[in-house]
Subunit: 362 residues, 2 copies
């Protein structure tokens, strides 16, 4: 067998293990925007000249829209930006850059599962910093202690997946500063970052830290998961290295126009935050017996529900018509938890009915 | 520096080094279909329900169209197929599967440059089998001699890039059989395969060889380079392994519909073969002094032109308004060669005028 040994081991990805959504099930599993994309993105697709599809993608509408989108917060050039087919592809490209055999990637537990799996697939080891409390709050002091000159990369998904917690900016700064002292790169995965404010982004520190890599996607806040589009921002030096192992033509030509127009829809991604916050508050008010909603940023549509007993919470909610992702898919969680992505406002009552049933005292 | 050392070395990709095409230049560089995509693909895009873009891609139109497309030649199931964002992404995924440090990938010289570069980026070594003659014909006997039990992977781009030569099927069978005896996987990259007959594809041997991986793209014959879509076909075991390190949602939802419809346009990809053959024959008739058209399959739009002197042939042709890819971008070739992709029939005379000028005896 000439296949790398890490491929022969079992792995997990919640994309594989989540039961299929059916018509009678309310799908609260995948981390999409339940309101879908802004109309402007769809207009750009309808207006697209299909004659352009015969050539390899080479126009810069997406790069230039990203630069404009961040101009109040960061001074970016095209060579700070790497487009990717879904941000997860960029994640794997970053890992490949640091994948010396046995190299250490440091991150919080729990975190985006597919990142942890990919670190292992690339022959590195993932060191997870245990949470600070029963709400799985990120333990920044412990991370600072664990970081050392041999750490290849620090990974932080912010807002956190699966809890929807946002790391305070002062903590983010402490990590970036310590990492810079030690010569360690820090990857901030802001897949859910469009649901919070642009001023919450690590991109605000882009000019101060040459050890910073920020990852963004159009799948979540911009509601375009079906298009597979994301990007990373870092130094030209690092994007240059990554270009060497990247598909030379990432993000298709039509998608480039669509995401550029999506970014021009001012305020779209944060416009549903109040809805999500109302639903999360209602979840708090409708639980408290068997179930607890863990600490979360209320603007972010994902959160973690925890059952106080050792039960399969995903199965209990599925029986009530709600599809979630099992906590068993996340390091340091178990099946008494689920990650739930709140639905659009019109479906909230259906969710709450199910949650109330599961929450009933034994 | 915690970055892998292979990233710090210089690399080449002709996507980077080819001068930009301008309005006054006839672009004969990138390997696209100069006639663009079939109308059916564009109809599918226009008819696409944009409401589907909010969810991650999960429908099977592309898988099922691939199964139908090959049903006379191979009995495929969905789990034989891995979709990818451009076939080059699948190529890198395959390399990652075999990328034990120092593992050997064996292939012919010249071959698709980006494959050779990526083998190195992933910490493997590429052994190139020298061509059989001055036409860069593939030396199959030498490849059989070079193959051994330690070979991790054999790579053959067929038709060959940059010559457009098609390996005879009996030679393909000799490679597959010897490799099977030795337990070696063989990757047949049929990026240009849509320009020849389906019966020329290695997929005809899919049921006989469990060591076979076939790679296809929609960028060339199907004229959809701008959409970034390809796929590989191999055993369910291997697609299962590759799924572990693949973006879990490759090929976007709209693209899946477009390529499915493109495949239903019977005969489209081979419908321009007679045009390409006429142009290649005209190239032969309009050269012979300084320039030679190397052996090539006339249905395939790419070919190699060689100047008998030590000149920069790309620059000479560019001065005459023709953009090509320099032979210096390919292993074992030099700048006296170019890869030329023939244009659509309406542009042939412009190409021939330039070629005649460069061909003039000194």
């Amino acid at each position: 067998m000439k296949i790398r040994s890490q491929y022969l081991q079992a792995t997990k990805s919640y994309a594989d293990h989540t039961p299929e959504a059916t018509a009678s099930i309310l799908d609260c599993s995948l981390g999409v925007n339940p309101y879908g994309p802004p109309e402007k993105a769809l207009e750009a697709i309808r207006a697209f000249d299909l004659g352009r599809l015969g050539d390899y993608p080479h126009t810069h509408a997406a790069h230039d829209a990203i630069i404009r989108y961040w101009r109040e917060f960061a001074d970016l050039s095209r060579n700070n930006i790497l487009l990717s087919d879904g941000s997860v592809s960029a994640l794997y490209l970053i890992n490949a850059l640091f994948a010396n055999p046995g190299a250490e990637v440091l991150g919080f537990m729990p975190s985006f599962t597919d990142m942890i799996v990919n670190v292992g697939m690339q022959g590195m080891r993932y060191t997870g910093v245990a949470p600070a409390d029963a709400d799985y709050r990120e333990n920044v002091d412990a991370m600072l202690d664990a970081m050392n000159m041999d750490t290849a990369l620090v990974y932080i998904d912010n807002p956190n997946n699966p809890t929807g917690q946002l790391l305070p900016k002062e903590d983010l700064l402490r990590v970036l500063e310590r990492a810079k002292e030690l010569g360690v790169y820090v990857l901030i995965d802001e897949a859910y970052g469009d649901f919070v404010d642009q001023s919450d982004s690590a991109l605000c520190y882009q000019s101060r830290f040459d050890n910073l890599i920020v990852l963004r996607t159009f799948s979540k806040g911009f509601g375009l998961a079906g298009l597979r589009a994301g990007y990373l921002v870092t130094t030209p030096e690092l994007t240059g290295y990554m270009n060497k192992s990247s598909n030379p033509y990432t993000m298709n030509e039509l998608t480039r126009e669509a995401v550029a127009s999506a970014m021009s829809a001012a305020g779209y991604t944060s416009s549903h935050g109040a809805d999500f916050a109302r639903t999360k508050q209602a979840l708090r008010e409708n639980t408290g017996h068997a179930l607890k909603l863990l600490v979360t940023d209320d603007r972010v549509p994902i959160c973690t529900l925890k059952h106080r007993e050792t039960v399969d919470l995903q199965a209990l909610l599925y029986n009530e018509g709600i599809l979630t992702v099992s906590g068993a898919e996340f390091d340091c969680m178990d099946e008494s938890c689920v990650r739930l992505r709140v639905p659009a406002a019109g479906q909230t009552e259906r969710l709450l009915q199910a949650v109330r049933k599961v929450d009933q005292p034994a």
